[in-house]
Structures are given as C-alpha cells and as structure tokens.
Amino acid sequence: MRNDEIAKQEAAARELLQALTRLSRDVHASPDFLAQVMARADAMPQPRRRLRHWLAVGAWWPDAPVLRWGAAVVFFFALIGAIPQYATWITAYIWDIPAATIHEARVQHHLWKKNFACATQLDGNASNYVALTNEHANVVVWTCPSGDVLVTIQPLKAPAAQRYVWIGLEDAAVAEQRAAAFVSEALAAEKSLRSEQRAVPVVRVLCQRWLPKHLIKRRVKFSDGRCQDEVINSRNGKITQREEATCEAACEWLVKKP
C-alpha cells in the first residue's frame, strides 16, 4: 500500500475530511467536568512509582518496537542462561557455605560417603595413620585403601575450629587446592612438622553414623584418653556440635535416633 493511495482517497473525500477535522469542535465538556474528575481522583489512592515503573520507563529501554523486542529477547535469554548461577546461589544459601565452594562441598560429601567405613576404622596404631604437630596445629592424616586421604586439622589455639578435609585422588584439582590451602596455613613449618611427631589428639574413632542433612556423628578418642562426641558437616568438614562422652565403643546413638 503506497502513500499515493491514501492521497487519492483523501482527495476524493476532501469535504468529508474537512468535516472530520472539525468533529471535536462541536462537542464540549460540561463546565464542572474538571471538578468532577478531580473529585473522583481524590477519592482514589494516589498512584505511586514502583520499581517496575522505573524499569519500564528507563532511558535504556529503546523506543523502536523492533529494538524493544530485541532487547526483551536478549534480556529473556540472559535470565534463562543465568539459571545455573541462581541455582548455585540458592544451594549455597541453603547449605550455608560460600557459593564459590559448592563444587568442593559436593566433592567432600561424596568422599565422606565413599570412605565412610574407612573413616570409622581410624586407628592411631595403624601404618596408614600419620600424626604431625607443630606450634600451630595438630594434623592427622589417615589414608584409605581407595587412595583418598582424610586430613584432620586442629589449630592448637582454637581447638573448636577443627576441620576434616578429604583429599580425593580422583579429583586432582580439588586435591591440589585443598593441599595448597591447608598445607600453607596449618602446616607452614613443614620442616619442624616432619621432624617433630608428637602426641596427637584423635587416635581412634569408636563409632560413627550418618545423621539427616548431610551430618555425621562420631565418637572419637584422644591420645590423652578423653572421648568426645562430635557432629561433622560433611560438606565443609566443620564440627557443628561437640560434647564430652564416655569412651564406650557401644554408642547409644548408633541405635537410638539422636
């Protein structure tokens, strides 16, 4: 349809169009029209500018319909594409760990499940048990038949900050990261560690079981003869609960629901 078609029609209906342009002159609002509208407006709640309005009238939103649709499509795919990131954030919030450590938490949980029986057999007299101590921390290294290694780190100045970290042979990246982090922080004095093997805190695990929400409850025996029940978060290796206990190997919570 070309513009000259409109021109043709308009030329043929010139008088009609002249009349059309005068339509709005022959009807007028009543004298109190303004007052009526304002009275009705005053009876309504005052409109407020909300976040969606700021987004809708934003200067960045293009005027041209094609560009607006284009921007909407790009925006839509950006939202869809970011769903894995949202999932990560939500998971991190639920698990109460930093979002960057989600993968690591999954690996740690997997290694706990995989080596659960091995972790229960921890024994200070076994050949695959190594205990190291320096002025900063006690470190117990327990190697499982799978090749995975459970490292227990207990800072001497803050025993409550004790942590369990698995170093899995299958996940070289995590193993390297873990080793780098903990060796550099807790085992800084490597030389003295290797030369000084002293008394270590944990020498045996008397009993161990899974609790809901990825928690592990275990009773451990220390080298000084004390025993303690502790609850470990399998995702971050932190001890969430700890209490003194008798050194009985028949733990009552193995059969009773805690």
């Binding site: 349809m1 513009n3 078609e5 409109i6 029609q9 308009e10 043929a12 209906a13 008088e15 009609l16 169009l17 002249q18 009349a19 059309l20 342009t21 005068r22 339509l23 709005s24 002159r25 022959d26 009807v27 007028h28 609002a29 009543s30 029209f33 303004l34 009526q36 509208v37 304002m38 009705r40 407006a41 005053d42 309504m44 005052q46 409109p47 407020r48 500018r49 909300r50 969606r52 309005h53 809708a56 009238v57 939103w61 005027d63 319909p65």
Partner: protein, 190 residues
C-alpha cells in the same frame, strides 16, 4: 484542531509527571484535553452523556498510568491510546452496545429522513452532521482510526505504534476506513 496550543500543556504534564506530582499533572491534563477527549468519546459511543462519563474514566486511567508514562511519548498520543481502550471497553459493555445500536438506528433514520439527498453538499454544517452520523455506522476500529488520524491529527507512524501494527498495515486500514466511510455516505466511486 490547532495542536500547537497544547504544546505548553503537554510540557507541563510531562514536567509534573517527572516531578512525581501526579495530581497536579492530572489537573493540567484535564484542563488541556477535556473538550477533545469528551468529543472523542462522544463520537465513539454516540451519546454525549456516556461520552462524558467515559471521558472521566479516561482521565482517571491516565492518572493511574502516570507512574509508567514514558517521557519520550507524546501526551496526546498516550492519552488517545487510553481513550481508545476505554471507549472499546465501554462499547463491549452489553448495555452500552444496546444504546449504540439504538443510536445507530436513529442515526440511519435521521440520515435517511432528515438529511435529504438534495441538501447542499458543500454546506460545512450539513457535511459535519452527516459525517458524525455516518461514523456511528462504521466499525469501532475504523471509527477510532479516522478520528485519531483526522480529528486528533495523529501521524500514521504514531497510530501504528499505538495499535502495535506496522505502518503499512496502518495505511491499509486507513484507506479501508476512508473507503467505508465514503460508501456509507454514498460518495464512493463505483
């Protein structure tokens, strides 16, 4: 209609909306556009009383929509888009539809009986009356389109944006509406 006089009104409305004083913006808007919107609604609905009632709804709808008003948009085009929606809504109302049908019947009767074919074709008042009556016999979309284009002097490009159609489609619809109006008036070229 001379739209240049509305420029100051449009600027004042945009300024008040930008400031967030929506009540003041409504006051300016009603003051500037009341006659035009009442006329538009009256011609769309066919009755003055209903036209005025719907025109009030138009301004109140505009008041509620002010927070979302895009400053780049022309006030007149924005207001007309709201008026068009409100009029269509009113026309959808079955009661109003019955009123309109009655008005159309009256209009046809008036056109047949009160406007003789021999009346002076070039008399502007006669022509205006005939156009007004003929508009009521058109489809509501065609009626709104003709009034927006010729009475409100909205450009085809703005109409296309308002109706969410392409400019080519807007042109086609306008030509069809013009042809239809001429047919109703008995002026179409055969």
């Amino acid at each position: 209609m001379d739209w240049s006089q509305h420029k100051a009104c449009d600027e004042a409305v945009q300024r008040e909306i930008a400031r967030g004083d929506f009540r003041r913006a409504l006051e300016v808007l009603v003051h500037g556009y009341q006659h035009f919107i009442v006329s538009f609604c009256t011609h769309m609905l066919g009755e003055t009383a209903q036209g005025e009632e719907v025109a009030q709804n138009v301004f109140l709808a505009a008041y509620n929509a002010m927070p979302a008003f895009r400053q780049q948009a022309a006030v007149r085009t924005w207001l007309l888009a709201i008026a068009r929606r409100q009029c269509f809504k009113a026309l959808r109302d079955s009661q109003r539809r019955r009123h309109l049908e009655q008005a159309q019947r009256n209009a046809i009767a008036t056109a047949v009986h009160c406007v003789p074919p021999t009346s002076p074709e070039h008399d502007p008042e006669v022509q205006l009356r005939r156009v007004r009556q003929s508009l009521l016999q058109l489809d509501q979309e065609e009626r709104a389109l003709l009034m927006m284009r010729y009475d409100a002097d909205v450009s085809l490009a703005d109409i296309a944006v308002m109706l969410r159609i392409s400019p080519a489609s807007a042109r086609r619809r306008l030509v069809r509406a013009l042809r239809h109006l001429r047919e109703v008036l008995g002026d179409a070229e055969r």
